[in-house]
Symmetry: C2
Subunit: 565 residues, 2 copies
């Protein structure tokens, strides 16, 4: 039997699946495992803490398709849980590898550190069952390769995080290398025989539609149909909207692509068209309150045909399960007779934002900030907009082709976006595709995970960080507690960040800017745009300056305050 | 019926139990609850993130006896879990209050943000069951007061964290105020009738002991016997040792108190006495590997009489359960005939460390650093030594009376100690007792939670931070991976911390020092000692400079490397 060391096996598998970097923090029970990372030609990214590492791994997976995170038993893994949960909520496949105490310690219930000193070793694994798609504990050499393959496959099938325990005495255990000749792949969904009937129903609906549209939601990534959707959108020419979650998955430069559908919070003609549509082809739906503007952007069931991972629903018919939404779309593209596709004759006009009315001396405000930032984006950019005003404003960017935007979808854990930027930037560098990486983040969120700027610097990544400094948790102020001190944060000198976190002094001087007016912002952006290394622009804005849905919340609160007077 | 709003009830209860500050981070589902914090005359400590908040609450509880932490559902609470787990492991009673979505959202399984958008609301509460002593979910006004009282009582009984869910629509629900006339208290353990027999056995053993000693371990705090132990130690005059966990609980200025017992890693005469003892009165034992020098400091069962919360064991007799270790000690102190207490005639000599042999020009090293720092400590000080070389060195401080030391006991989550310092310093300020607060922390640990320095500054706390800058995770290097790059950390400019984190520029200039030699360290300590605000001294040391048990580990690894050559 050809054998290989367990850790070599695991890391070879990760490499086969396109993982090139591993995130995490060393700890007593994972050091022997970490010995195998660099020899496997994987790059080790030592994060400042485990939550940041999990966030980074999530960001990496969203660009790369898969990622790996290594933590240590107890103290390490528990710090990462919120990041893993976010990856679950938003379907990011992260392999969470936990280095656990040696099998002898576990089987003898030894009172080791990183436990509760009560001999119980299973409680932390039990916690992770609630936030991962699958879990496995490596216990012996014989079953290890299959267990590893299975857990990796689960991550790919569900596009969600999984949990893998490796005892500290096992990284160099010899296991069979036999599996390695075949790669781990997602199994195909077997045909149910129902597909031809489904297909003719869909085609019939499409050929007879009067007011059709396409709604691309974010689970289309997990569905694996992003390229196919591009074809569908081009072939039909139908009006197409995104959600917060899917922003950037479709090419906004196409004339029929409108950006994020915002119902009552957006363009009125768009709303009128959407609400009177008789066909809404919906892909990868994800109907959380925040991804659906309080459930107002969800298509009328009668009009919708909804494609999911392993089901489809046509109108109000019963859900048809165990069919692959992806396979159906592939068939649809083959079968579609382009001569029979109706035109969407009364499609709404496309709204284009401009820099009109912005004066250099104007103070920076939500209303001008995003318009001023938009022109710096180029084809292939990754733009990460943290939960809060950054994400809300980022919804209205008009994106160049192949640009991706990450915003506040469902999990909304502030602090996520900065380490996620690190992960995404690393994945992008490995892919060697053109485009820049920009993070837009509020001052409150920044404080959660700021230390990861040092890892960006250490990894020599090219990242532009724009800090919206509006003196606290503005997103919370508009929800509740407009004047409450609990929505304040500590005062930081943001312009000192790069220096504190270890950038070269020369680089700091030419890469840090602070701006209060639109002119200052434009100057700063010009200087940092497309540059190298980590660059930082601090943009000052007013505490309660918000737009759109956030303005609606603020006004509701102001009205309530007036009533209470 | 006298009524009170739910949140007012909860916070009134916390105030009755001596909680004066509440830690946490605002989030969508706790804002309405936070409205009640300051009106209840509780001080709100907004931390930079939830893990830091949990660590802070733990530190506060260790000084104050109880603490409260408020997080938001999902994203907030999960970030705090590692801190809550640490509080469980080391018996710190933290009330973890989670603001959950409104009851309507939960009962209708609405796809709200901070969930997995699948209608399931119970998974996060399920996770906390593994790391808290008790859990309760407030669901209705009628049962709320009793549920709150019960959960608070559980925290006090077990001296461990508990989990309390308050839906976002309930803070202003009216509940009965009737319970408030009685305070929440720990119930007494009913007598089993076995106590007189136990007591005579103990007294007999004490009166006939030839080589008696007292071992005070850290769960003595939860046992509630710290003052009684002081009496016992004085009345017997018997040699007394601490553990890492209990360091500072007994007055090290007494001639019969020796500090931490380190078995083979410490003083040889101490080991000889300990191992030949015929009576070891043991209080609040906690025998993790790290708190017992790899299980070598655990008393011989035949010699030990072990006092726990609700059991006692005399020698190798069966454990006697359902008796209160505290009540037994109280009775013992009353019954003990001081004329019959044997002297410990062959007690070992007490080792006193001095500054002998240290020259100003010497580079700072583990061997001189702790000796140079020791003289700054005063009566009532709190000294927090982070896991790593800081905690190992801190074990050998000779403490002034009433000084407390916190070190690496069992949970050993690096990053804990900095926010814990914030919490401990706040509790100390509220107690208005004399003494200073000093944190000693390595550069690797510091990076985990550094942003909380800004909260220390914002709270105007008086804290001295001494950073051991030895270029990475030295503790991990000595365990495994001496030359591995995964034990490196990013380069930071530590002397810029106070400025970046918002301290007044004037203050920064006179409160930040960096030292490479013993003379520089002494100068810096002199300047910052007993000062106000947050002060910072960076002490450079060599990467592999370690002592004691850590040196043993390093040498083991060096020997292994030699073998492999």
């Amino acid at each position: 039997m050809d054998t290989i060391k367990l850790a070599d096996y695991l890391f070879a598998r990760l490499r086969q699946l396109g993982v090139n970097s591993v995130f995490g923090v060393p700890g007593d029970y994972n050091l022997r495992l970490l010995d195998f990372v660099e020899p496997a030609k994987l790059s080790w990214v030592g994060n400042c803490n485990e939550l940041n590492a999990a966030y980074s791994a999530d960001g990496y997976a969203r660009i790369n398709g898969l990622s790996a995170l290594v933590t240590t038993f107890g103290v390490g893994e528990l710090s990462a849980l919120n990041g893993i949960a976010g990856a679950y909520a938003e379907r990011s496949p992260v392999i969470h590898i936990v280095g656990t105490p040696p099998r002898l310690a576990q089987s003898t219930r030894a009172l080791m550190h990183h436990t509760f000193a009560d001999g119980e070793y299973r409680r932390f694994a039990a916690m992770s069952t609630h936030i991962t798609a699958a879990q496995t504990e490596i216990t012996d050499a014989a079953s290890a390769p299959d267990k590893i393959d299975w857990i990796l496959q689960q991550a790919l099938i569900h596009s969600r995080p999984v949990y893998l325990e490796i005892p500290d005495d096992m990284p160099d255990a010899l296991v069979s290398a036999a599996n390695l000749t075949k790669t781990v792949a997602v199994p195909t969904v077997p045909s149910t025989g129902k597909e031809p009937q489904i297909m003719s129903q869909i085609l019939e609906r499409m050929y007879t539609a009067k007011r059709p549209l396409i709604l691309v939601d974010g689970e289309s990534v997990a569905l694996g149909v992003v390229d196919q959707l591009d074809t569908l959108i081009k072939n039909t020419g139908w009006p197409t909207w995104s959600t917060v979650y899917s922003k950037g998955l479709v090419n906004e430069q196409l004339p029929n692509v409108y950006g994020v559908y915002e119902a009552a919070f957006g363009d009125k003609p768009a709303k009128a068209y959407f609400e009177s549509a008789d066909l809404i082809l919906t892909f990868g739906p994800h109907y959380s309150d925040t991804n659906s503007y309080f459930f107002t952007t969800i298509p009328t069931p009668a009009a919708a045909i909804t494609f999911k991972d392993s089901s489809i629903q046509i109108g109000t018919d019963p859900i048809c399960r165990d069919v692959s939404g992806k396979d159906l779309l592939l068939q649809l593209l083959q079968k579609l007779d382009s001569t029979r596709i109706p035109k969407a004759t009364d499609a709404p006009p496309k709204v284009v934002t401009t820099l009109d009315g912005i004066k250099s001396s104007d103070p920076i405000a939500q209303d001008n900030f995003f318009r001023l930032v938009n022109p710096i984006f180029q084809e292939g950019d990754i733009i990460l907009t943290e939960t809060g005003t950054a994400s809300h404003g980022g919804r209205n960017f008009l994106l160049p082709p192949k640009a991706r935007v990450f915003g506040a979808v469902t999990w909304l854990s502030i602090g996520f976006m900065l380490p996620a930027t690190l992960g995404a930037a690393l994945a992008k560098r490995e892919q060697k595709t053109p485009g820049n990486v920009t993070l837009i983040i509020g001052d409150g969120s920044l404080q959660m995970t700021a230390q990861e700027i040092s890892t960006m610097i250490r990894q020599k990544l090219n990242i532009l960080i724009i800090i919206i400094n509006n003196d606290g948790y503005t997103i919370e102020r508009v929800i509740h507690g407009r004047n409450q001190s609990y929505n304040d944060v500590a005062f930081w000198r943001h312009t000192q960040a790069l220096s504190y976190f270890g950038a070269d002094e020369d680089h700091v001087a030419k890469s840090t800017f602070t701006a209060r007016t639109c002119g200052e912002l434009q100057d700063a952006l010009q200087k940092v745009q497309g540059g190298t290394g980590v660059r930082l622009v601090e943009a000052h804005m007013a505490r309660e300056d918000v737009q759109g849905a956030l303005l609606y919340l603020l006004n509701k609160q102001l009205a309530q305050e007036k009533k209470e007077e």
